[in-house]
Amino acid sequence: MEARAIVVTSGKGGVGKTTTTANVGTALAHLGEKVAVVDVDVGLRNLDVVMGLESRVVFDLIDVIEGRTELKKALVRDKRVEGLYLLPAAQTRDKEALDPERFRAIVRQLLEEEGFDRVLIDSPAGIEKGFKTAAAPAEGALVVVNPEVSSVRDADRIIGMLEAQGIQENYLVINRIRPEMVRRGDMLAVEDVIEILGLKPIGIIPEDEQVLVSTNVGEPLVLRSNSAAGRALLETARRIRGEEVPFPSLEDRKGFWAAIRRIFGGA
């Protein structure tokens, strides 16, 4: 992606925005970029706990905006990965404290003065002011969507709003796919979601228990042992950096009955 300021958004809550932000951000840093992950969900901050950095938060985004500290001091450096920083949201304030123009200036400062290669913005759910503020400095977006009707519908709304704000470099992250259900015909397939939303995917992530395990312990999946979702998130980061990484087929399973079904054109 050309975009250096990227908003991670979805419309609907609970589809994996924060997990995506934490892991893609960590992976990008792991691949050598200097990355800031920014939590814009003022009042409901979560990126700090998902990343396991909650105990090191001193200042937050609103402190910076209101001039109580300088930007550098609010950034929490992740000691596990070189070049990874978190800018936390305020937990005790409401969304009104965050002004889109001021926020845009902060993201500019990160990219132009603080030497960051990439800023990943974790947007709050919804389509109101919080989302619009999060999207204000963005040049591109990762639209996180689950293969499920309400999530796809909300994603469509969000894609329309991103385009209306002039944000053009937008990609889908299709999250929580259950290959077994897709094979049975009980879950929208990746191709269905792409066709309906008319946007290209940059990440295709299977449902994986290890996501919950990683948030339990506060260690991004991409830093942990080999898990299916962790691998897919790392590949997503590689694609963002412009590498050609083919999407592995999730539906391709070995086994006698699967082969029989394929031969007879079922499933």
């Binding site: 009707v149 469509d156 049975r184 015909g185 009980d186 269905d192 309906i196 008319g198």
Partner: protein
């Protein structure tokens, strides 16, 4: 009884989504089409005898466009 489940639930999800997105994108709630249908019928009746029965007005996706389809049976 596998044959009961021939129509996969994902097919249904896809069809429902396409329809609801057609209305969302046109910013037109399905209920409003009823009003349009009534007024359309009024105008059509000035030109030929149109019957309320069998009239159907709906939105459909055609590639990138959303089109309004009105079907009005013309009585012989």
């Amino acid at each position: 009884m596998w044959f009961w489940r021939r129509r996969k639930s994902k097919e249904k999800a896809r069809d429902r989504l396409k329809l609801v997105l057609a209305y969302d994108r046109a910013k037109l709630p399905p209920g409003k089409l009823e009003g349009l249908k009534a007024e359309l019928l009024e105008v059509l009746r000035r030109y030929f005898p149109a019957d309320e029965r069998g009239v159907e007005v709906r939105l459909e996706e055609r590639g990138d466009d959303v089109v309004l389809i009105a079907e009005v049976p013309v009585r012989p």
